[in-house]
């Protein structure tokens, strides 16, 4: 009890010292400077938090240090860009992805069927490899003939840079739709479905044995019907769906792209956990190596698909106007003209970067917090972070929760990427500095603490933004005439310093718990 009190006292004193430090830093500035510094802090903090919170959820429950998290953030940004700038490509890809996923929604049926098979382990393994091979053969026939309209990295006129530039000019010059020629759409749909069913069944055979056969109910098929139906719809209503998306206001399109990026991230995370991470739970070093390797692979894949050069993503129309009445002087003025900039205390505030991003970040913070505190899944996560063996001993399938949490964490990172893309621009290395910031934020806030991730992200952002601002206006050193201007390398260095100081005082971070 006494040690508890002492630890809390240290925590409060540390927080007090930090507050005094930042208030002192703010008091050395003019109002407009510190207001904008605070707003930028919220912006950087929100994006850092989206990466850090997912990372810490995964580490807390699964004990996996997902070093690919920064790369997944970057992939989220590229996916968001693709939906936003090239909705036709997105619609073209939707059908095959949904059809391929449909077979995997039938896991109950596969478990049920695999119980019925009376064969030796070796024969089963042969059967599953044969199924996978056949599935790959079908795919190798269907996919190259499947028409997908996509940009061309090798051709500057049709590269992502050009499409981004045109979209920024308000021009939406999408190339003509490609249509089914080499293969009939019905054959393509059936082929994809068959390949998916085969692959899902063969993969479930690998896990043969063990669990008791689940009962089949009509609910077991509801997910399949939904996914398969949507896939067919995307296939046959392709043109009207594309027309709908291209006709949409870019703000709505952007929100859709955020959603798609988050969902694709979650899907990617789920796949990654169930295929690559799950076999390695008992080998932490291999986990580190595989996530590090995946991070490098991910960067190369993105370079192949989207090209090496960096490009910008146009801001949605709600935040993009520079015409009459801009920059706005009040929120009402902004709402009327959709200006990209608001003047606040004579400072220029970029609405998207400094107001929209923090709002989304805050909404996600609250949503995930409610999920953790109020839902049964959240209860299982909080319990599992402490002792997943005990949760399992209560009869709860923790492994399934592991997959869900991995999907959630990666989904958050991908959402962060798509959200940050219009302000940061797209580059294959955009995840790296952010990942570093997120790790430092987690060390400061406490590695497995959700509020700690938020607090740490905020502190890291605050320190960096103050130093960046003071780099411009200079610090007047008292009793001398010297004006000290912090140089850019001091920005990352300062966060590491903060981390070192906090870890010396509180070895588990501000809100971390003793292991």
């Amino acid at each position: 009890m006494k040690a508890d009190l002492r630890k809390n006292l240290v925590l409060w004193l540390t927080l007090l010292a930090l507050t005094i430090f930042f208030v002192a830093a703010a008091s050395g500035m003019e109002t407009k400077d510190w207001v904008i510094t605070l707003l930028r802090t919220l912006s950087v903090g929100a994006v850092t938090f989206l990466v850090a919170s997912g990372f810490s959820l995964i580490f807390g429950l699964l004990d996996v240090l997902n070093l690919a998290h920064g790369t997944l953030f970057m992939i989220g940004a590229y996916i968001g860009w693709s939906v936003y700038v090239r909705p036709d490509t997105f619609v073209d890809l939707l059908a095959p992805v949904l059809l391929l996923a449909s077979g995997f929604t039938l896991s109950r049926l596969w478990n049920h069927l695999s119980k019925r098979i009376q064969m030796k382990g070796k024969a089963i393994r042969m059967l599953s490899w044969a199924g996978l091979l056949l599935s790959a053969l079908i795919l190798s026939y269907v996919l190259p003939r499947y028409p997908i309209s996509i940009w061309d990295v090798g051709n500057y006129g049709q590269s992502p840079i050009t499409y981004s530039f045109m979209a920024n000019q308000g021009l939406s010059l999408l190339p003509p739709e490609v249509s089914f020629e080499a293969i009939s759409p019905i054959v393509a749909a059936l082929g994809l479905l068959l390949a998916s069913l085969l692959a899902a069944f063969s993969l479930s055979l690998f896990r043969w044995g063990g669990q008791s056969a689940p009962n089949l109910r009509w609910q077991s098929f509801a997910g399949f019907a939904g996914v398969f139906g949507m896939g067919l719809m995307a296939l046959f209503a392709n043109d009207s769906l594309t027309a709908f998306l291209t006709g949409l206001d870019t703000t709505w399109l952007f929100l859709i792209s955020l959603l798609v990026a988050a969902l694709s991230g979650a899907l990617l995370g789920g796949l990654m956990e169930s295929t690559l991470i799950r076999p390695l739970y008992s080998r932490p070093i291999y986990q580190l190596m595989i996530t590090l390797g995946l991070s490098a692979v991910g960067i190369e894949v993105v370079r192949t698909i989207w090209g090496r050069p960096e490009f910008v993503m146009p801001k949605p129309s709600l935040f993009n106007s520079t015409g009459a009445g801009c920059p706005a002087t009040s929120l009402a003025g902004w709402a009327q003209n959709h200006c990209s900039i608001i003047l606040l205390f004579d400072g220029r505030v970029r609405v998207y970067n400094e107001i929209f991003i923090p709002i989304v970040g805050f909404l996600v913070l609250i949503t995930v917090w409610l999920l953790l505190q109020r839902s049964r899944l959240g209860m299982i996560i909080r319990a599992g972070v402490q002792d997943s063996e005990m949760v399992e001993a209560l009869g709860i399938n923790v492994r399934r929760t592991f997959t869900l949490v991995f999907a959630l964490g990666v989904g958050l990172a991908a959402l962060g990427g798509a959200l940050a893309a219009p302000s940061m621009g797209l580059s294959t290395v955009m995840g790296e500095s952010l990942m570093l910031n997120a790790l430092i934020a987690l060390a400061i806030g406490g590695l497995t603490s959700y509020p700690g991730a938020a607090l740490g992200s905020l502190l890291v952002g605050l320190l960096q933004q103050f130093i960046i601002k003071y780099g411009v206006i200079g610090i007047h050193i008292p009793f001398t005439d010297i004006i000290f201007k912090p140089t850019p390398p001091l920005v990352p260095a300062s966060t590491v310093m903060l981390m070192v100081i906090i870890l010396l005082i509180l070895p588990n971070g501000l809100l971390g718990k003793k292991e």
């Binding site: 209860m379 002792d387 209560l394």
Partner: protein, 234 residues
Amino acid sequence: MNYLLDVQDIHTYIGQSYILQGVNLCVPKGTITALLGRNGAGKTTTLKSILGLTPPRQGKIAFEGQEIQGLPSFDIAALGIGYVPEHRSIFRDLSVEENLKIAERQKGDLESKKEMIFSLFPDLKRLITLSGANLSGGQQQMLAVARALVADNRLLLIDEPSEGLAPVIIQNMMTAIRKLSSESTVVLVEQNFLVASHLAEYYVIIEEGRSVKEGKMKDLVNDHETIHRYLGAT
């Protein structure tokens, strides 16, 4: 004879160490069976092997006639086995109520068992909103046992319920365990022979990973030689 739990010659490794080298354990329905033996003999590992937390490499485990060795732990537990681990493993970030609620296997389990749980452990009622981190050792132990009672468990595996508790609290705990054994079967690991001998009907002694002796507790109490030889105390 028909046993609720029938463990036959299980062998368990933890990492490279050969911990259980042949344990047999038969638990008749509706009884309390005590696992006795010195520290490190393999009593806790036996419980964990039954639950599949440290799955045995060899041997058979049948629960209600169904073979359960090799199933994942959550499937084994869901068949109706409750577990109270050695160090209680109360979830610190969850409130007392959540600690109970998480053990539900069907919605409404807790509602229907609440009355029974509070009659066994009246103290829990006023602690219900407290966080698991703020409980004393005795309160944690009560909560750990209560947690195992929320779902419909026919078998309870209780590891060292008296460890680190004050004598008065041990008394309460014994009363509670005796009461709950009228509804479900209990396998008890207990260092404190006095406690074990008062609670259990049957015993199994484990020595260096093997079950070496079993029988009725009332015979063991008078068998000073066996007690001295395997338990090292009177």
